[in-house]
Amino acid sequence: MATRATDPCGRTGRKLAIFLQLTLNGLAVGCIYGLVALGFVLIYKATELVNFAQGDLLMLGAFVTFMGVVWWELDYWVAFFIAIVVVSAFGALLDATVLRRVIGQPQFAVVMLTIGLGAMFRTFASVTWGSEIYTLPTPFSGVTVIGGVTLSHQYLSIVAGTLLLCGVLYAFFTHTRIGIAMQATSQNQLAAYYMGIPVKLIFSLIWAISAGTAVVAGVLLAPVTLIDINMGLAVALKAFAAAVLGGFGSIPGALVGGIIIGLIELYAGATLPEGFKDTAPYIVLLLMLAVRPQGLFGTLARKKV
């Protein structure tokens, strides 16, 4: 620090470095929100259910990975993979056993159902793993310093992981038969059914994908927030705000919304008085909804009569 203070352009340089640092961190946190929001939107687009247990699936994914890495001493990637498979299967099972039965009930009832499921998952986690806070060792512990900006590998891994996952999902939805079938089902369930698409199976698959996305988000997030039973709740609330900000039902909207929320949160935390870190995203959301009630990428529709 002392050496830099003598640097003639040190002050602005350091400010810029701090700004870039914040932006990277905000981007990384935003990516997590974006991923969880993506999970919300995938399920919503297909089945019109809003899954409030998304954050708790994230928490379960992080715990399963933790168990793999620490208790069974598996390789990080193997444990990661196992967690994705296990929690995705659990998501599909959840759809097949519980959520399929409430399709057609008022949206509000379904929201409450998933809130109830989330509470059960948290209780399950607290009975199984206890209420301690755990650390997940990851291969991304180092830092790279470029021009005074410290790039933490944890944060870089989040951004890279998000980009990778989005690429894979994009390819899946546009280039595979089953992905296109999913899109068709989201557009019109009944028509898809008549075209011979196995709608129930598609719904379960979408739940699996959505749960898998949550696991990726959870494992990427784990080194930043540490693992505990309530880690999903706070993330899910912000991610929900992100999904709405983007216009619920729009996939690019979810990601953009997530990044916006993440950036606002970090900038507000650094510049505004204490307390604004957690409220600023919501204030922005309320202002945005007042101006554009349908969200950034949403379309306003009115029932046809």
Binding site: V50, Q105, Q107, M120, L237, R302
Partner: protein, 380 residues
């Protein structure tokens, strides 16, 4: 089965359906009035919680059950009512004035929150109310000159016109009084054009509009009325809990209130009461089971000599003692109710009653829900 012969239109808008109905409610009133004489002081206090939760339940029932607007932020209204009342009391206002001011303030907040609600439905409204509640909670913890932040704010016992309600018994009757008033006023609104307009908005906004309902006015009215009741409940809540802190009024409390209306049965005032009984009494019931199940099963072991009973008892006891189990039990019940009895406890009550009044002619199909394919709520 009893058949009701109606002879005038006025009969359909009475408070009670007929004399027999009124008689049952009269009996209920007597039971509730005499209840403190037979239960211990501890339970008198717990039943007072039921009354406070029931006022909250009626408030949310008007908004969610009758008008079809979702609020994930009702705990914030409760908090505003509680803090406002505590603040005014601290500044020496008479009790009645303080409560009225608390209600006025929450009503104003309700209208402010209701304004954006005019253009939103479903999830958008849910998130907007959630955002409001997060912001309000932050205000509670930061506005220290009024709320004392995390240091907390003590609230004394109510003193009304010189009468002190410092015993559990007196407070019981105070809460009961306000619950009855709440129920009466709400029932009046619901049997009048305003209540019909709310139901109409819930079922079809577009038709309601074409029949002359001003959506903006009636939606804000629902929000304002609901918030006003929350303000009243908040004032009683403040006395009951005796010490206000910002982390009481979280989203978890809002969710618990929503759970109340769903478990009770959406779209009926009875449901609000049933739900309040459930939400307020489940924690003490779990507390009792925590100790009594292991004890009674241990007795069974002692009596029969089969060690398994005792082991099961120990297992259940230690499970119930784990932290966070209560929330899980609430979650489980919520899931079961939505899956098995979407009309809640009140729906179950109606079915039971009809089963007995039509015995042995009861048909299960009477309440069978139509199977439907997914109906879009995107375009409401």
């Amino acid at each position: 089965m009893r058949f009701l012969f109606k002879t005038s239109y006025a009969q359909d808008i009475q408070l009670f359906r007929d004399r027999v109905d009124a008689g049952w409610y009269g009996l209920l009133a007597v039971v509730v009035l005499l209840l403190p004489a037979v239960i211990s002081d501890y339970y008198v206090g717990e039943v007072a919680w039921v009354f406070i939760y029931a006022i909250c339940g009626v408030s949310l029932m008007v908004l969610v059950g009758y008008t079809g607007l979702i609020s994930l932020g009702h705990a914030a209204f409760l908090g505003i009512g509680a803090y406002a009342h505590a603040y005014f009391l601290q500044h020496g206002m008479p009790w009645v004035v303080s409560v009225v001011l608390a209600i006025v303030i929450t009503t104003a907040c309700g209208i402010i929150v209701g304004l954006p609600a005019l253009r939103m439905t479903g999830i958008y409204l849910a998130i907007a109310t959630l955002a409001f509640s997060v912001i309000i909670q932050e205000v509670f913890s930061r506005w220290e000159s009024v709320t004392h932040g995390f240091a907390g704010m003590p609230v004394g016992k109510p003193v009304i016109f010189g009468l002190s309600f410092d015993s559990d018994l007196a407070f019981y009757y105070l809460c009961l009084f306000f619950l009855v008033i709440t129920l009466w006023l709400t029932r009046n609104l619901l049997r009048a054009p305003t209540g019909r307009a709310w139901v109409a908005i819930r079922d079809s906004e577009i038709a309601a509009q074409s029949m002359g309902v001003n959506l903006a006015i009636y939606k804000s009215m629902a929000f304002a009325y609901s918030a006003a009741l929350m303000g009243l409940a908040g004032a009683l809540f403040a006395h009951k809990i005796a010490y206000l802190a910002p982390d009481i009024f979280t989203i978890l409390l809002s969710i618990q209130l929503l759970l109340l209306v769903i478990v009770g049965g959406l779209g009926s005032l009875h449901g609000a009461i049933f739900g309040a009984i459930f939400v307020a009494l489940l924690p003490p019931v779990i507390a009792i089971l925590r100790d009594s199940i292991p004890a009674s099963l241990a007795d069974a072991t002692a009596a029969t000599g089969i060690g398994l009973f005792g082991l099961i008892g120990e297992g259940i006891g230690s499970f119930l003692r784990k932290p966070g189990v209560e929330a899980g039990i609430f979650g489980l019940i919520l899931v079961l109710v939505i899956l098995l009895e979407p009309r809640g406890m009140y729906g179950r009550w109606l079915k039971t009653r009809i089963f007995f009044s039509t015995f042995p002619m009861y048909k299960r199909a009477t309440f069978k829900r139509q199977k439907t394919y997914m109906k879009s709520e995107r375009l409401r």
